[in-house]
Symmetry: C2
Subunit: 624 residues, 2 copies
């Protein structure tokens, strides 16, 4: 069992650390334990990620990076990593006292070999050595790079702290805390600040106590900066072990072999993390939380069951990376509403229009492969409209299995909504420009949540035309409706889905009006954030919203239609999944079976009150 | 420099071999030379693939597998690999006489380590040993698997020939050819046929001459069959080197650790092959053909040029895997027409409808990542409509760079069309049901190609409605046009593109009529296969077809509109690329620059005759 410690703070580092971990897991053949020192943001992201990743023989512990801050915040530091850059100095105090040895890594390193080979270097430490480091591969510490540049003291060109073997119990016994603090205080009398964060202090301590350091072979920290001397290292060794992107330019660094290194990095950036869920055989270790139960449930499935694929998909635990991109939580406002939706790659082009129509917070779940997640990142960065919005949270749910897990995606987006209310929408809809303001006003006026348990219905329309001049008001919408440029949603194919909204009343309505639940009703609604979750048994297409509305009704939510609210479905090419299944009788038979099971569960939970849903289901359908 | 020989025949093996090669290249640190013994189909696929892959320090030679057939075709063989399964016996005669040693691999193995480690095992051969093999990991040769099963003779459980170290010059000196033939002839007196192809014969020879074989460590050929004993091997070794999918069930094999092995295989299946173009530094080797020239051209580009991205994209050499899926070339017919088009993942759902509308041969270029190519394969396999069609050739062009290389894709599809005529279409169009037959009849009647140098124009229409009842005749089409359900293509946004087709004349026409070229004319045409190629400088969107039509006109193709032909554009969500660039002034400025350069080239090639295009370009455009 090998131990690895990483300091990780913020959204961007959380993304970086995943690539590092993938490269480590790809080559490893031993159980690993990660010790992650994180701020609250990184913790929430990485806890979710590792819990859902379920990698066998991988333990993860979290440590609060805010708590040891006072021990280092007195040190002035000019390095881009900020205060967290100094955190490695206090690791012996943060990590459990029983932990004797640990490998410490920066988030910007990539493995090209098995980490056990690195761990094996502890065996070469003399009794007095406590810290293993690779020499710097630039001339920074020689002080001759720039005029008037006076670096901190170091042995020769100093050591790089991107990869450290730390012998923790020896450090603790040697009085490490006092040692580095003394050195730092003394040097800060003549240096205004550290330039390279912890690295300056490590080097100054080593200069004073050269016996502490075990120099490591340079291949364990090949440093890629603009003027790196790394070539001297790997030309000899020809066997790269760990790459360190230690230039602030990261992947854009100019370097003779940059292309080679970038390819290695890109390999893991786009690598399907699900493939790392492989067991390490010959190596007993505790299975990840929930893994055994999951295995049992999967083993109980009947391969002959017509719904086998559906049930398997429902049980699939998808890796989830919440807040994948920069995001600022909305300020607490009592009537605020988050738009909740889900999408895959083929709907990215909806995002800009959606941002223009909905100026409020959004929580979106994206169903992507690892490689697509990177394309998505570039797409957002290239869009001025999207990159200007900090109130849209993107949650990546990694693809696995043949069916689109629509309700699982909705639940991820819903769970991450941070406002008291949510507008449960779909990605192909554009809301009225005024909807965000209007909803907040309506929520306040109606006393939703506190006074009244209600779901506010936003009437849905559709256009079959690409170049719709989007209506600016209800009056304009009604004119387009009369002109045939718009119709009520799915009027031709599936009127039951929205008939209960009662469009005739809506046309005349001046105030919110109540409607009754009806079979197959699936309106778009605004509800408090703590509303029931979607039923994850509905995967692929069909009945996923219907079941949710039924559950709202069972819990006695009033259905109130808002007279000025509307949202319009835009045309799109049918998705691959929907075309694949529209023609499949097996699919429809299975959906029927799932519906019946859902009704049974409903009866179990809500008793006699749920009978009406069963009756509605059994009533023969008359064509409308 | 390490040498590897692989026997590969047919389309499916060509796909398999790519995954093997990717795994080999991923771990290798030495120059490699591949010796590929192929039939004509595999040769044409793999020659194109390796030429366009441009992997540094990788040599490839081809050998005709049909030529040595007489040497082995007399051997009755029941193994699923057929005659090609016996080809390894005659490798010493096929490979160059100067080649002393070679590693021989089956197409169904996957590397999990550096092949140089395997090559190093030649050093352990005694003077008499000529062949290195791993023992079988099943009890097949013990003869106790089935009742009445009488295997060929072997030492113990025999050796597996999926991975062979072959000491060629020693084999040749030892009179290998006579040796195996003698043994085979003798054994065939009592055995009706070989069951495991070459493997039975190798084992029979070894049984007779045990001194020839150097047993290799079992990790170099971990055999994954249903009842494999492989576990005994790797539980000891814990370090897998080569996985062999030697069950006829391949990836669907049931096995305790199948999941682990599958993950390894899937890693390389979806691995971006472009990443393997990395240089091996510290290891001088000849650059791939064309690589130096390409480097020079790329180096000459000006990063400040507004068209830098376009020019870079134009110079990109995309990896091309022609006939990715099963395909039967159409029988030679003098007036046959192939539909030529290109697409990416977001248009897959068009393929079924296209197959219903066009019953003739198609040549389609698909712009995909390696992972998407696998999704595409599953998509076709899952579709009864698509998998029933053997006359549709799919050519995968692997994605690289930010712009869609539309004309490079068209040229790939065009180059692979096997009929004398081609219909140059786009993927969003559905042709009239009768078009295929009508075109062939028209080509014959008009004497196209031989008597007359002409391009037949197929008038283009569009609908903005998803649920169009597709017209069965010209009369039905005209009725829909009058009813407003159809319009002529791009009538509202860009009438110049098709105005020259003269829809008013078409309405009345009973016979083909000639039209004149006009600026910005871009009709869909039928031309002989040897027509000019598309100009690859036009990438992304804009002017890509216009330039081609201009070139047809410069080469004095008559433009003949067919009175009964039509094709209809279906609505679709705008592609990501088009939305990204529609709003970009830099894009439009660059397109203008590319147009001007194209005109200059046209003048250079066609002289004064090309002046009219320049004049047309400079004439101010009046709104239509």
């Amino acid at each position: 069992l090998l131990h690895v410690a990483i300091v990780c703070a913020g959204l961007n580092s959380s993304r970086e650390v995943v690539t590092l971990v993938k490269s480590m897991l790809f080559y490893r053949k031993n159980p690993l334990h990660l010790h992650l020192v994180t701020d609250a943001v990184a913790r929430s992201i990485l806890e979710t990620l590792f819990r859902t990743w379920m990698v066998p023989a991988l333990g993860v512990s979290f440590y609060d990076a805010d708590q040891p801050k006072p021990q280092i915040s007195w040190i002035p530091n000019k390095h881009y990593s900020g205060l967290y850059g100094l955190m490695k100095l206090v690791l012996p105090g943060i990590l459990p006292p029983g932990l004797a040895q640990v490998i410490v890594l920066d988030t910007d390193v990539t493995f090209a070999s098995d980490i056990a080979e690195l761990w094996a270097l502890f065996a070469y430490f003399s009794d007095k050595q406590v810290i293993g480091l690779v020499e710097n591969q630039s001339d920074w510490y020689l002080g001759n790079l720039w005029k008037n540049h006076r670096p901190w003291p170091a042995l020769g060109r100093g050591f790089n702290t991107g990869v450290i073997l730390l012998w923790l119990d020896r450090l603790r016994r040697a009085g490490w805390e006092q040692m580095w603090q003394l050195t730092a205080r003394r040097e800060l009398l003549t240096h205004p600040a550290t330039s390279l964060a912890d690295q300056d202090i490590f080097n100054a301590v080593i200069k004073e106590h050269p016996g502490l350091v075990q120099p490591l072979p340079c291949v364990w920290n090949v440093q890629l900066s603009d003027h790196t001397l790394a070539e001297l290292c790997y030309l000899e060794a020809a066997d790269l072990k760990v790459i360190h992107w230690n230039s602030p330019k990261k992947l854009r660094v100019k370097n003779k072999h940059a292309e080679f290194f970038r390819n290695l990095y890109l390999t893991f950036l786009g690598y399907d993390g699900n493939l790392l869920r492989r067991e390490l055989f010959g190596c007993p270790s505790q299975p990840p939380t929930g893994a055994e139960q999951l295995q049992q449930s999967l083993a109980q499935l009947d391969e002959e069951d017509a719904c086998f694929e559906f049930r398997q998909q429902q049980l699939t635990v998808h890796r989830v990376h919440i807040t994948f991109l920069p995001h600022k939580p909305p300020p607490p406002r009592p009537h605020d509403v988050t738009l909740v939706a889900q999408l895959s790659m083929d709907r990215l082009q909806m995002l800009e229009a959606l941002c223009r129509h909905w100026p409020g917070p959004m929580s979106l779940a994206l169903y992507l492969t690892d490689a697509e997640a990177q394309q998505f990142l570039h797409f957002v960065e290239a869009s001025p409209v999207l990159s200007a919005r900090q109130d849209v949270a993107y949650h990546v749910v990694y693809r696995e299995g043949p069916l689109y897990p629509v309700n699982q995606l909705r639940n991820v987006a819903l769970a991450q909504a941070l406002t008291p209310y949510v507008f449960l929408s779909d990605i192909d809809f554009l809301p009225a420009y005024s909807l965000y303001d209007y909803l907040r006003a309506s929520i306040e006026q109606l006393g939703l949540g506190s006074l009244r348990k209600a779901a506010l219905v936003v009437p849905a329309f559709e256009t079959l035309r690409y170049r719709l001049s989007f209506p600016r008001s209800k009056a304009e919408l009604l004119a387009l409706l009369d002109a045939g440029a718009l119709s009520t949603f799915r009027y031709h194919e599936w009127p039951r889905g929205h008939a209960a909204t009662d469009y005739a009343s809506w046309r005349e309505a001046q105030a919110p009006y109540r409607v009754q639940w009806a079979a197959d009703y699936e309106p778009y609604v605004v509800v408090p954030r703590d509303c029931p979750r979607y039923d994850p048994r509905f995967v692929g297409f069909g009945w996923n919203k219907v079941a949710h509305i039924m559950e709202l009704d069972a819990q006695e939510y009033e259905l109130l239609v808002l007279p000025e609210a509307f949202t319009i479905h835009l045309p799109h090419t049918p998705s691959l999944d929907i075309s694949r299944f529209r023609s499949s009788p097996a699919y429809r038979a299975c959906l029927q079976a799932l519906k019946e099971e859902f009704h049974q569960d409903l009866s179990r939970r809500y008793g006699a009150a749920a009978l009406k849903y069963l009756t509605a289901l059994q009533r023969p359908r008359s064509p409308v």
